[in-house]
């Protein structure tokens, strides 16, 4: 039996936490959703997560903050950032810091799956 890869979704927007895990499960991934970075770090899924879909702007710890924290903890989980802010200048910056991809909302299913497969290859 193939154990599905665990994808964790961290976003403060409830509609994302509703819709995105459903789609990912439909695509065959195991999914855990968290409403904040802190919640994710406190969970038991950090070690198991093979790809992190991470919102950039969140109250409290932001997406890049979490990325930095994981780097410090030497837990290099491949990250796909998602953001509703149309600021394209952040993308190269985040990728330089090690992110696999940065998707601007609204993004297509195809773009999401391509980013995920890149991320999982990396992990």
């Amino acid at each position: 039996m193939v154990i599905p890869s665990l994808v964790s979704v961290v976003d403060d927007d409830e509609s994302v936490r509703e819709s995105l895990p459903d789609l990912l499960r439909e695509c065959g991934f195991a999914v855990q959703a968290f409403s904040s970075a802190e919640e994710f770090l406190a969970s038991d899924y950090v070690d198991q997560t093979q790809c992190l879909i991470l919102d950039i702007a969140m109250p409290g710890m932001s997406g890049p903050d979490l990325q930095r924290e994981l780097t410090l903890r030497r837990q290099p989980i491949p990250i796909v950032f998602i953001t509703a802010h149309g600021d394209v200048t952040v993308r190269p910056h985040l990728i330089k810091l090690g992110a696999v991809e940065c998707l601007f909302k609204p993004f297509s299913e195809a773009a999401l799956l391509e980013a995920l497969s890149t991320a999982l290859r990396a992990s």
């Binding site: 509609s15 969140m58 109250p59 909302k105 993004f107």
Partner: protein, 812 residues
């Protein structure tokens, strides 16, 4: 025959007579005696025998007879002088010549005589003698040195003064020879002049020093000229020697004074001038040393002292001494403002405290005369001292010289100080003119003589050597301003103050803006003269224009900045539901495509898709409400509703910044009158500012209160209160200035624009520091129907919102 002889005898140039050997006159009645008788007026019989003696001057007769007897005894011819009375009683001198006639035996038988009238000759001889006597008298009596020499310039005679000066008798001076006692430096010149005079016979004049009996050389003016006889032959040379020592000294002093003043005028430094003064003193009063000390500006110390002929250690020991009676003669003279004389330093007891005497003695000085130097106004400028290596007391002559020196020193020092002050003030003026780009000029109407300061030349970019004419000025004027220049000249001719602005067209095509102001005065001759200033206002003009451009750019930037933030907010609000819609739709498709299809799941996702679609629609509705109005209008605005919309638009942004927003909106708020979108702009700006102000706050909640309430005077108030870095009470007003910002990024435009919006609503926008951390920004606007005065810059915001394209509207 006899008649012929008689005529010859009568024609002889004398009175002829014969006499008997015994001395008595032999008389014969013939014509020989006729001239004699005619001269004396005596008849023949009256003269006969001894009668002739009545015609001889009684004083001369005894000698005459005595002499004659002597001749008779000797039998020799002879001659004698005697006065002979003329017929009219006048006596005239005659030379009486007589010759004895002897017979064959040698016996004198007769005396023949002839009387020659020598009166005229004797008189002229007497006159000559008198002249000579007087000449000698004059020569001896002349109050100058006179020497006479022979035609070949050998000393022959010298007057009393001459001998006295050289302190030697004439013979010794003769032995000393030509140019004796001349100063070695002067004697070659004197000898050469003498040689030349001897050759040409021409007079000469020369100045030379000659040594007095006591060894002192004094200056003389030598004037050597020949005296000639009637034939033009040189009889003797006369040498006049005039003592010009005093004059030379006065001339030297005057020349020295002139040189000093020239140095002052040429801007020499004070030490250089004082040294020259000392050298002048030393060259005038031989054998002395001189020093000059100045009193410092506070009047308490000696400074800037110079003593060029004394070792530096001397002046170093005096410089800086306090001006007091104890510290030395110069300090004392300056302190008391009177002369201090030390005839012998070795026996001097004053200034022990300053150990001045041992110091001076160590430098070989024995006497010191210090005199204060005072300004024309009587202020003590310094002290001047003369030193000698031997004990000495000043003579009246020395004092006269000292007076002259202190006078010169006073002038030189005061002028030097004055010049320095003047130069400083001129330099200030030039620098001020340069810095302020302002030049000055004068313009004499009668002659059109125009004088420019350096800066005006610089402004006009003309060579300072060029003479300034109206034509020259006109040639630099911008063609369009030439007419106004003509008008200005006409106004000026009418004698009125004038002020005008004009442009210059420079050779490189650039344009300068000048502002010229002139005030009319009358010069000393009562002629019209303008004194004026030319200010180069080009920079100001360019700045004003640049400022205008910046202001319009600023307005543009303000729009862009505010709208940028707004747009980001809108994008986020729209993208979020769009993202949900797409994800849900994708999920729905997958669920339906599954085998078996997950219909329940698909239904749920489709439901969510509808929900997110509505959410996006709500955002669009709000945006349309925000941007739908075509024109700025005054309408009734529910401030609470407007605030809620802004909150909804910015919620995400605030959330992203970790800000906790607490709205406190009054329930019974009356409607305000104004432009809803503009007011929302202001609210958004205040919210974002408050959020930014708390971005560095980590030790307390980033709490933000937005409050609406009624305000006094039928107004409504909105306050945004943060817990951020706060504002300094004194900096509050600055916050509203364009470009003022406390943020490390941002341009500080928002509050300035916000305030202008609120003011266009007849309202007020202000800031107050909190009691705790942070600050509150509030605006208050009327509820009444006054409406809104539309701020021009905000028209453009509308234009932007409508066209969704950037364009610049000039800010007027």
């Amino acid at each position: 025959m006899e008649s012929e002889l008689t005529r010859v005898i009568d024609a002889l140039p004398g009175l002829v007579w014969t006499a008997l050997p015994d001395g008595y006159l032999d008389f014969r009645i013939d014509f020989f005696t006729r001239r004699w008788c005619e001269y004396t007026g005596l008849a023949v019989d009256e003269a006969y025998g001894t009668g002739w003696q009545t015609a001889i001057h009684p004083d001369d007769l005894p000698e005459l007879l005595e002499c004659w007897r002597f001749l008779s005894a000797a039998g020799e011819p002879g001659e004698m002088e005697a006065r002979l009375r003329r017929f009219d009683g006048d006596y005239r001198r005659f030379l009486i010549r007589m010759c004895p006639l002897a017979d064959a035996s040698g016996q004198i038988v007769k005396w023949c005589g002839m009387n020659m009238d020598i009166e005229d000759r004797r008189r002229s001889e007497d006159a000559l003698r008198e002249t000579e006597r007087r000449f000698r008298l004059i020569v001896d009596g002349l109050p100058t040195l006179v020497a006479l020499s022979t035609a070949d310039l050998v000393l022959d005679h010298a007057n009393h003064h001459y001998l006295e000066y050289f302190g030697a008798p004439l013979d010794e001076l003769k032995a000393r020879g030509a140019a004796h006692s001349c100063h070695p430096d002067d004697s070659p010149g004197v000898l050469a002049a003498r040689k030349e005079a001897l050759k040409t016979g021409q007079p000469y004049e020369i100045d030379a020093r000659r040594r007095r009996a006591d060894g002192v050389y004094r200056w003389f003016h030598l004037c050597h000229f020949p005296l000639r006889d009637a034939q033009g032959r040189i009889v003797l040379w006369c040498l006049l020697q005039t003592d010009i020592d005093e004059r030379r000294r006065a001339e030297a002093l005057l020349a020295g004074e002139k040189r000093l003043l020239e140095m002052v005028a040429d801007g020499y430094s004070m030490p250089g001038i004082l040294e020259t003064l000392c050298q002048l003193v030393e060259s005038t009063a031989t054998g002395c040393y001189c020093s000059v000390m100045l009193v410092d500006t506070s009047g308490t110390r000696l400074e800037d002292g110079v003593a060029p002929s004394l070792p530096a250690s001397f002046i170093d020991a005096v410089n800086g001494r306090p001006v007091s009676v104890d510290s030395g003669p110069c300090a004392m003279a300056a302190y008391l403002n009177r002369q201090v004389i030390t005839a012998d330093i070795a026996s001097e007891t004053r200034w022990a405290a300053g150990s001045w005497c041992p110091m001076a003695l160590a430098h070989g000085l024995r006497s010191c005369w210090s005199t204060p130097i005072s300004s024309a106004a009587g202020k003590v400028l310094g002290a001047f001292a003369i030193y000698y290596a031997e004990p000495r007391t000043p003579t009246a002559k020395d004092q006269a010289l000292i007076n002259q020196f202190t006078h010169i020193a006073s002038i030189a020092i005061e002028r030097t100080k004055g010049q320095a002050a003047l130069r400083r003030s001129e330099a200030f003026l030039v620098e001020a003119q340069r810095i302020s780009s302002t030049g000055s000029f004068s313009w004499r109407m009668a002659t059109d003589e125009i004088t420019w300061s350096e800066q005006v030349y610089r402004i006009f970019e003309l060579d300072p050597d060029l003479p300034v004419t109206l034509e020259l000025i006109g040639s630099r004027h911008h063609p369009e301003d030439v007419l106004s220049m003509r008008e200005m000249v006409e106004r000026a001719r009418a004698g009125k103050d004038f002020e005008y602005e004009h442009r210059l067209l420079m050779p490189d095509g650039s344009i300068k803006y000048l502002h010229t102001v002139a005030h009319v005065t009358r010069d000393r001759d009562g002629q019209l003269e303008y004194i004026g200033a030319v200010h180069d206002v080009t920079q100001r003009r360019l700045s004003e224009e640049a400022l205008g451009r910046v202001q319009s750019e600023l307005a543009h930037m303000a729009r862009v900045t505010s709208l940028g933030a707004l747009t980001a907010s809108i994008a986020h609000e729209v993208n979020q539901p769009l993202s949900g819609i797409i994800t849900n739709a994708s999920t729905c498709l997958r669920m339906l495509a599954a085998d078996p299809p997950n219909v329940d799941g698909a239904r749920e996702t489709a439901r969510r898709t509808i929900r997110d679609g509505n959410r996006a629609s709500d955002v669009i509705t709000r945006l349309r409400a925000l941007f739908s109005k075509k024109n700025t209008t005054s309408e009734s605005v529910d401030l609470n509703e407007a605030t809620r919309e802004v909150i909804a638009l910015s919620r995400k942004e605030l959330q992203r910044s970790g800000v906790i927003l607490r709205p406190e909106l009054a329930d019974d708020l009356p409607a305000a009158t104004g432009d809803r979108v503009q007011l929302q702009q202001v609210i958004l700006n205040l919210l974002l500012n408050a959020s930014d102000a708390m971005s560095d706050v980590n030790d307390r909640p980033r709490q933000l209160v937005i409050r609406t309430e009624r305000d006094e005077g039928d107004r409504v108030r909105l306050t945004v209160q943060d817990a951020g870095v706060g504002v300094e009470p004194q900096g509050v007003d600055k916050l509203f200035e364009a470009f003022y910002t406390t943020k490390s990024s941002g341009m500080g435009i928002g509050l300035s624009v916000s305030r202008s919006i609120i003011e266009s609503h007849h309202g007020r926008l202000w800031a107050t520091p909190n009691e705790g951390p942070g600050a509150a920004f509030s605006f208050s606007i009327p509820c009444g129907p006054e409406g809104v005065t539309v701020a021009h810059s905000l028209d453009a915001i509308r234009a932007f919102a409508e066209s969704n394209a950037l364009h610049v509207t000039r800010n007027r």
